[in-house]
C-alpha cells in the first residue's frame, strides 16, 4: 500500500518533470535559426514565398508560439505527439518504430558493460596491488580515456573491413530475409560491434567504481567480523564485500542507463543503427519540431523509467531502504 503510494508519488513527479522538459525543449528548439518549412523549401529548391507560407500554414507554424505550445502540450496530454513535418507520419509511429532498436542496443551495451565491468572491477579489487590487478585497471583507464567514436571507427576498420568477421553497419542483413532463429542470430551479429563500442566506456566506469567500492567496503567493520568468524576469503569477497559494494553501482547504473540513450547518437550514426538517437539528430537538423520533441520526451521517459527500476532494485537489494519506506 505504502509502496503503491510511493510509486504514485514518483509518477506524479515524473509527469511534472516530463512536462517541464517538453516546455523547455519547445522553446529551445524554436530558438534555433530556420524552421522546417525553410529546410524543406531549401531542399526542394523552391523559391516561391507562397510555397513556404503554405508549408508553414500546413504545419501550424504561422500561429503565435504560445498557441503552438498549447496545441502541442494539450496533444501530448492525450498521448497525441503530433505529426512529423518531414516524414509525414505520426511522431508516435516513427518513435515506436525506432525505439526497439535503441532499447536493444542500449540494453545489450548495458548488460555487457555492467556484467563485465563488475567482474573486472571485482577481480581488480581482489588483486589490488598485484600486476594483474593493475593491468585490469590500466585497461579500464584506457577504455575510459578513448573517445567512443574513435573506438567505433577503429573497430569497423579492424573487424569489418580487414578481418571481415562482423558486419560494418545496420540492424540486419538487408535482403537476406531471415526468419526465426536465423534472424535473431543475424541481428545479434550486427549488434556486437555497436553494443561493445557503446558498452566499453561504461564498462570502464563500472570497473573502476566496483574496485573502489569493494576496497572501501573491505575496510568496514563487518568484513572484519566475517574474518574473525573464520569465513573463507572467497566467501567474504562475494557475500560480504561485493554485495555491499554493489549498492552504489546500482545507483550509478540507473543514472547511466538513461545517459546511454544520449550516448547512442554517436554509435547509431557510425553503425547506421536505426535507433532513436539518430532519429533525434536527423530531426534536429531538419527542424522537425514535433519529432524532436517526441524523441526528447521518450528519451527522458526512458531515463525516468530506468531511475524507477533502479529504485526498485535498490530497495530489493538494501533492506534498510525497504525498511524506511
Amino acid at each position: 500500500m505504502l509502496y503503491l503510494s510511493l510509486i504514485a508519488g514518483r509518477l506524479g513527479k515524473a509527469v511534472l518533470v516530463l512536462l517541464a522538459i517538453l516546455v523547455f525543449n519547445f522553446f529551445l528548439i524554436h530558438a534555433a535559426p530556420g524552421d522546417p518549412a525553410l529546410v524543406m523549401a531549401g531542399e526542394a529548391g523552391s523559391t516561391d514565398a507562397e510555397f513556404i507560407a503554405d508549408l508553414r500554414e500546413r504545419f501550424g507554424l504561422d500561429q503565435p508560439l504560445p498557441v503552438q505550445l498549447w496545441h502541442y502540450i494539450s496533444g501530448v496530454l492525450t498521448l497525441d505527439f503530433g505529426y512529423s513535418y518531414r516524414q509525414q507520419m505520426p511522431v508516435l509511429d516513427l518513435i515506436l518504430d525506432r525505439l526497439p532498436a535503441t532499447l536493444l542496443l542500449t540494453g545489450a551495451a548495458f548488460i555487457i558493460s555492467l556484467s563485465l565491468g563488475v567482474l573486472a572491477g571485482a577481480l581488480a579489487a581482489m588483486r589490488a596491488g598485484k600486476p594483474s590487478g593493475s593491468l585490469i585497471m590500466g585497461l579500464a583507464l584506457l577504455f575510459y580515456a578513448t573517445p567512443l567514436y574513435w573506438v567505433a571507427m577503429m573497430s569497423v576498420l579492424l573487424f569489418s573491413v580487414w578481418l571481415e568477421w562482423l558486419p560494418a553497419y545496420g540492424f540486419s542483413t538487408v535482403g537476406a530475409n531471415y526468419t526465426g532463429l536465423a534472424h535473431v542470430g543475424d541481428v545479434a551479429l550486427h549488434l556486437i560491434l555497436p553494443a561493445l563500442t557503446l558498452g566499453l566506456f561504461f564498462m570502464a566506469i563500472y570497473t573502476r567504481m566496483t574496485r573502489t567500492s569493494m576496497l572501501s567496503v573491505a575496510q568496514q567493520d563487518f568484513v572484519r567480523t566475517a574474518r574473525a568468524k573464520g569465513v573463507a576469503p572467497g566467501v567474504i569477497q562475494r557475500r560480504h564485500i561485493l554485495r555491499n559494494a554493489l549498492l552504489p553501482i546500482i545507483t550509478l547504473a540507473g543514472l547511466q542507463a538513461g545517459q546511454m540513450v544520449g550516448g547512442a547518437v554517436l554509435t547509431e550514426t557510425v553503425f547506421a543503427w536505426p535507433g532513436i538517437g539518430r532519429l533525434m539528430y536527423d530531426a534536429l537538423m531538419q527542424r522537425d519540431y514535433n519529432l524532436l520533441l517526441g524523441v526528447f520526451f521518450f528519451s527522458a521517459l526512458l531515463v525516468i523509467v530506468f531511475n524507477m527500476i533502479t529504485d526498485v532494485i535498490y530497495r530489493l537489494a538494501d533492506p534498510r531502504i525497504r525498511g524506511a519506506a
Partner: protein, 532 residues
C-alpha cells in the same frame, strides 16, 4: 521562366546525390557497349543518404526522393546524356511548326501499380496536380493555354506563345504522372496512398524499414516487354559516409550515387578490383559551385574587394585536392558545358599579390569578414577552410560562422552573411539556371535560391531578358557574351568550380546510367552480371 527541374536542382544542396559531368567523362563507362548481353534477375544495393522523408515524388522533390522515386514514377519523356528527348510514357510526339502545339502519343498498355489503366486523363490530372503543389510547375505550365485529350492515348498541349524549352518539361522529377483515380478530390498531402506510392514505373514500392532500408521490387506488368531486368532494388540508409564506403568495399553495396562517399575516398574505391566510376548522368543539372558575396554592405560592395577575392582563391588547389581533379575551373558565370559560354573570357588567376594590391587600393581596413560554409559534409568543410586560408593569405580577416542546414538556409535567405558557399544548377539553358542569380528583379528576401547577393545592373537585366526570347542563335550568343563580359568585370559573386558528380558502382552492374539525370531516372535498363 524557369524549368521545373530547377526545383530539383537545389535539392542537391542537401547532399550532392545527382550526377552531372561537366566535360570530363568517367574513367570507365558503365553503360552499354561492353558486349555483354542483358539478362533478367538479380538485385542491386544502393546507398541512399539522407533517408528520404517520403517516396511521394510528386509532393516531395528533394534528391533522395527523386533517386528512388524515379523508379516508381514516370513522366512522358526522358532525356539522353546529350539532352535529347527520348520516349517514356509517350512513345512518340510531335511539335507543331508554329511551336504552339505539342502532341504526345502514349503507350496503350500502361497500367498503374494497382492495376488500373493509365490514360491521357491521368496526364491532364497530373499537370493540374503539379501546378497546384509545386511552384516551378506552376510557372512552366503558365505557358499552356489548354490541354486536349482527343483519345485515351493522346494528349495535346496548346501554348499561348512559342516556348522552345517546353519539350524539356517532361522529366520525371518535374512532371511525374500521378494516378487520378487515387488522388482526385482528396487532400493531396494527407492521402493515405502517400505512404505506399503508386506509379507506372519499372519498380514497385515494397517495403520501408525506417532507418534501415527501402525495398523496391520489379513491376511484372511493365509496359515495355522484358524490362526491367532486375528483381529487387535495396536502398540502404547509412548515415555515415565512412560506413557507406566500408559497405561498398565489403560488397554489401553495388552502387554509390554521387556524394554518398567523401571525395577523398573516390580514388581508392574506384581503384578496387571490379569497381567502376562514371561522371555521366548529371548533364541535365550542371552543378556550379560559387561564393555569394553580399554586394549590399561592407567591403563586398566594392568591386575591387570582390576582384581581390577572385585573385585570392586558389581554385586549382581545391579542384585537385578536394575534387580529385575531376572538376573544371570556370572563367566566368557560365559553365563551359553550355554552348552559350564565351571562350574568350579568361579566368582570374590565383594571384595573392594582385589581391593584396587591390585591397590596399580600396583601403580595406582589416574588418572581419564572415564566411558561411555549406553544411553538406567534409568536402565542403575542407573547402571553406581552404578558402578562408586563401583569403587570409591575401590579407582579408575571416571568421567562419558554421551552421547546420536550417541555419544556412536562414542566413542566406535573410541575407545575413558576408561571403557564403553555395552551388546552383545551371541546367541546359542560361535563362533557366543563370539569369535568376543576377537579375535584379529576382532580389527578394526569404529565399536562398534567388539573387541573394543583391547585384543590380540594368544592362545585365536587359541583356538576360532579350537573350531569353531571342530566336536567332547568333544574336543570342552576342547578348550572352556581353553579359558574361560585364559579370566577369564586376564579379557579383565568386565562381568556384564546375562540379563533378562521379558515381561509383560495381562493374557488374550494367546500363546503370542511360540518361541525363543518371540514377535519378531509375534502374529501368540496368542489369547485373551475376544475376544471383
Amino acid at each position: 521562366m524557369k524549368n521545373p527541374i530547377a526545383s530539383l536542382g537545389l535539392g542537391g544542396l542537401l547532399l550532392t546525390l545527382l550526377s552531372l559531368s561537366p566535360g570530363a567523362s568517367g574513367s570507365s563507362a558503365s553503360s552499354d557497349g561492353d558486349g555483354a548481353q542483358p539478362h533478367s534477375g538479380g538485385e542491386v544495393n544502393i546507398a541512399i543518404q539522407p533517408e528520404p522523408p517520403s517516396l511521394m515524388l510528386p509532393l516531395v522533390q528533394n534528391n533522395p526522393v527523386q533517386l528512388i522515386g524515379g523508379n516508381i514514377f514516370e513522366s512522358l519523356l526522358r532525356y539522353s546524356t546529350d539532352l535529347e528527348p527520348m520516349p517514356q510514357l509517350a512513345k512518340s510526339w510531335e511539335i507543331g511548326d508554329d511551336g504552339l502545339t505539342y502532341t504526345f502519343h502514349l503507350y496503350d498498355n500502361v497500367v498503374w501499380h494497382d492495376g488500373e489503366p493509365f490514360s491521357a486523363e491521368d496526364v491532364v490530372f497530373s499537370v493540374g496536380f503539379m501546378t497546384e503543389v509545386e511552384p516551378q510547375a506552376r510557372e512552366t505550365m503558365s505557358h499552356v493555354e489548354r490541354i486536349e485529350t482527343p483519345d485515351a492515348n493522346t494528349v495535346v498541349f496548346h501554348l499561348k506563345q512559342p516556348y522552345p524549352a517546353f519539350i524539356m518539361a517532361f522529366e520525371v522529377g518535374s512532371m511525374p504522372m500521378v494516378p487520378k483515380h487515387i488522388y482526385e478530390g482528396t487532400d493531396y498531402h494527407n492521402n493515405p496512398a502517400n505512404a505506399h506510392p503508386i506509379g507506372t514505373g519499372p519498380f514497385e514500392f515494397e517495403r520501408w524499414d525506417r532507418g534501415s532500408v527501402i525495398v523496391l521490387s520489379k513491376n511484372e506488368d511493365y509496359y515495355q516487354e522484358g524490362l526491367p531486368y532486375l528483381d529487387t532494388l535495396y536502398w540502404h540508409v547509412i548515415p555515415d559516409a565512412a560506413s557507406r564506403a566500408a559497405a561498398y568495399e565489403n560488397g554489401t553495396l553495388d552502387v554509390l550515387p554521387a556524394g554518398s562517399v567523401e571525395n577523398f575516398d573516390l580514388e581508392r574505391l574506384a581503384d578496387l578490383p571490379g569497381s567502376c566510376i562514371t561522371n555521366q548522368g548529371s548533364e541535365m543539372f550542371n552543378p556550379f559551385a560559387m561564393l555569394w558575396l553580399n554586394n549590399r554592405e561592407g567591403p563586398m560592395s566594392d568591386v575591387r574587394f570582390r576582384k581581390a577575392v577572385m585573385y585570392a582563391l586558389d581554385r586549382q588547389f581545391a579542384n585537385d585536392v578536394l575534387w580529385n581533379g575531376l572538376g573544371r575551373i570556370p572563367a566566368g558565370p557560365f559553365s563551359s558545358k553550355l554552348p552559350e559560354h564565351d571562350d574568350s573570357i579568361e579566368a582570374y588567376p590565383h594571384d595573392p599579390e594582385q589581391a593584396r594590391a587591390l585591397l590596399d587600393e580600396m583601403g580595406y581596413n582589416g574588418e572581419q569578414i564572415r564566411l558561411l560554409p555549406l553544411p553538406y559534409g567534409e568536402t565542403w568543410a575542407r573547402w571553406s577552410e581552404a578558402v578562408r586560408q586563401n583569403l587570409e593569405d591575401a590579407g582579408i580577416n575571416v571568421t567562419t560562422e558554421a551552421t547546420d542546414v536550417a541555419g544556412w538556409n536562414q542566413a542566406i535567405s535573410q541575407w545575413d552573411y558576408d561571403i557564403a558557399f553555395t552551388y546552383l544548377y545551371q541546367y541546359s539553358d542560361p535563362s533557366i539556371g543563370i539569369s535568376r542569380t543576377y537579375n535584379s528583379d529576382n532580389i527578394a528576401r526569404g529565399s536562398p535560391w534567388n539573387n541573394v547577393e543583391g547585384y543590380r545592373n540594368e544592362r545585365v537585366d536587359e541583356l538576360f531578358a532579350a537573350a531569353a526570347v531571342e530566336a536567332d542563335p547568333e544574336a543570342r550568343q552576342q547578348l550572352y557574351s556581353e553579359v558574361q563580359q560585364i559579370l566577369h568585370e564586376e564579379v557579383p559573386l565568386a565562381w568556384l568550380l564546375e562540379m563533378p558528380q562521379p558515381v561509383i558502382h560495381g562493374c557488374d552492374v550494367h546500363n546503370l546510367i542511360t540518361t541525363g539525370i543518371g540514377i535519378s531516372d531509375g534502374f529501368k535498363n540496368a542489369w547485373i552480371e551475376s544475376g544471383d
